[in-house]
Symmetry: C2
Subunit: 329 residues, 2 copies
């Protein structure tokens, strides 16, 4: 009997890239990481990608001949069909870089290319929170808010590679909403990213005259020492200011979930990234707001969960893309 | 050579149902209509459906043996997979009615079942505004705002039959948005339906002290004699109040389009229903706002058009559903 197919998944991030061999059942071998060092330019970056792939294969005690295909996930604006990174803010100065073409030339293997949040969604769908679900939408919460949509087991890429750009779903009118990093107002990312959570804590202080632990932390903070995790932590310890910020975060995320229910109407909505540490009470709040503000029928049926693969979702999902490419042509 | 396959498409509306035979290339024979008379109950309704189908076949000088499949589109809340109309507000007192099962039993043919706005989107995709486009999102503007999403040539039904419920995309926060018929606040339908357009005109009067044609019409209006079409008509004649209402309508629809770009990212966004009479300047306004408030890349690429099939979109789309059922199993 032939050995099960094996794939390499590579997740390229702003600071590190991470890869592992993943088998046909979604089981990952040991992962390896290398610094991205985007400032050294795209050529160095492409070589680092190849090296990370080689090390991942070696870490699984395999050779490249064992590998059926390679999947690469990258952040930021891209043209997925053309295989080009356009102008990713966190991979400067890379610009119009052909990724899969290069990897393919080096390894002579089928190479899949995907947006990192889309890949993470596919990873969660394959062997994570959404295993077995026919459709799934992932919100990834970090510096920004990313998203990925899986329908019938496949990434909804969109016609211009912007499918599932859920951080830029608008939840408030553009003339009065919070200012987003994209330059527009009212995007979900301006409310629910890790940065936005801390920003809102700072703004909400005025409403809490008494001393709260979070106020003290914010006051002692030189520039940006307080993290979203800190806000969630002190909320769990009973801090009223922090609890208000967390409550509002659940409300904003639920509004994002409502927009997804009225468009894609998925079986499951999954929240990944930094806020998975917030615990089930946070999910319960999101559910409560989704029921209150969403369409009654899908809101009562949709499953709302935390992601399960953590930071492995990206490379597992990238491997899943390679697997789909190899198996489905 | 065998004759090309033929399908019957039936579009069940609140007041009339309409059907025609549609051939394998999307060409429709003469359409026939019968009153829905929902108040007479579901049994009468089901028999009227069958009679409309029979008359459509006769109108095309065919017999049922020429028909390869039948597609039925109905409004309101349904379970598409189970083939059940749940509790449609404009087909009262129908409730939990099995539609395709009945039609199948009567005609012994494959029967497809679909939401009417989804069917209209598929019709426009097949032989209307979206012919040849890989993906398309339709907003249908009428008493309410309906929607349909086509990806890779198929309806995105959603897991709970709520895919493409675009009238309930929220464009303002739920604590201060306009009240929607669904009982929630901030839904697109509360801003951009025909009813909402007239309501906004009434509210905006206060800002226009001078006499305007629209003010006069609203003042003379006993209850609901002024229509959205009237508002668009007098706007085209230069009425300032009406022009403001039309401008705002384009703005709200663009916000709906932005949400669609950040989730589905379709090749094309199509506006159908009452406002297609508003002309290209109205589309141009929607495009302008979409560029200003949407994600730059998809907003610059997406095609924004009017629907082309008018009120035939429903039955042509229903026939398209039957065609997909027959051809793709």
């Amino acid at each position: 009997m032939a050995a099960a197919l094996k794939f390499v998944g590579l997740d390229v991030g702003g600071t590190t890239m991470k890869a592992a061999v993943v088998d046909d059942y979604g089981l990952a071998g040991p992962s390896v990481s290398l610094p991205t060092e985007a400032h050294r330019g795209a050529d160095v970056g492409l070589e680092t990608m190849c090296e990370t792939i080689r090390r991942a294969v070696a870490a699984s005690r395999l050779t490249m001949t064992d590998v059926a295909g390679i999947g690469v996930a990258t952040p930021g604006l891209m043209d997925i069909k053309l295989g080009i990174i356009l102008d990713p803010p966190n991979l400067k100065p890379w610009r119009n870089v052909e990724i899969p073409q290069h990897i393919r030339k080096v390894f002579h293997k089928p190479v899949a290319f995907q947006n990192d949040a889309n890949a993470a969604a596919l990873g969660e769908h394959w062997v994570g929170a959404g295993k077995g679900a026919p459709s799934l939408v992932l919100f990834t919460l970090g510096t920004g808010v990313g998203g990925g949509i899986i329908v019938d087991g496949r990434v909804l890429e969109g016609e211009h590679s912007h499918g599932g750009e859920l951080g830029h779903l608008r939840i408030d009118l553009p003339d009065r909403g919070r200012l987003c990093g994209c330059g527009r107002r009212g995007c979900l990312e301006a409310y629910a990213s890790a940065t936005a959570v801390v920003d809102r804590a700072r703004e909400d202080q005025a409403g809490y005259r008494g001393p709260t632990r979070l106020r003290e932390m914010l006051a002692a903070d030189d520039v940006s020492g307080v993290s979203a995790k800190d806000v969630f932590d002190v909320a769990a310890q009973g801090d009223l200011l922090a609890q208000k910020v967390v409550e509002d975060t659940a409300y904003y995320l639920a509004l994002g979930a409502c927009a997804v229910m009225a468009t894609v109407d998925p079986e499951m909505i999954v929240f990944g990234g930094g806020m998975t540490a917030a615990g089930d009470s946070f999910l319960a709040k999101i559910r409560e707001y989704a029921l209150r503000f969403g369409l009654a029928y899908p809101a009562s049926k949709v499953q709302i969960r935390f992601a399960q693969l953590g930071s492995d979702a990206g490379f597992i999902g990238a491997a899943a893309c390679a697997r789909q490419l190899v198996k489905q042509g």
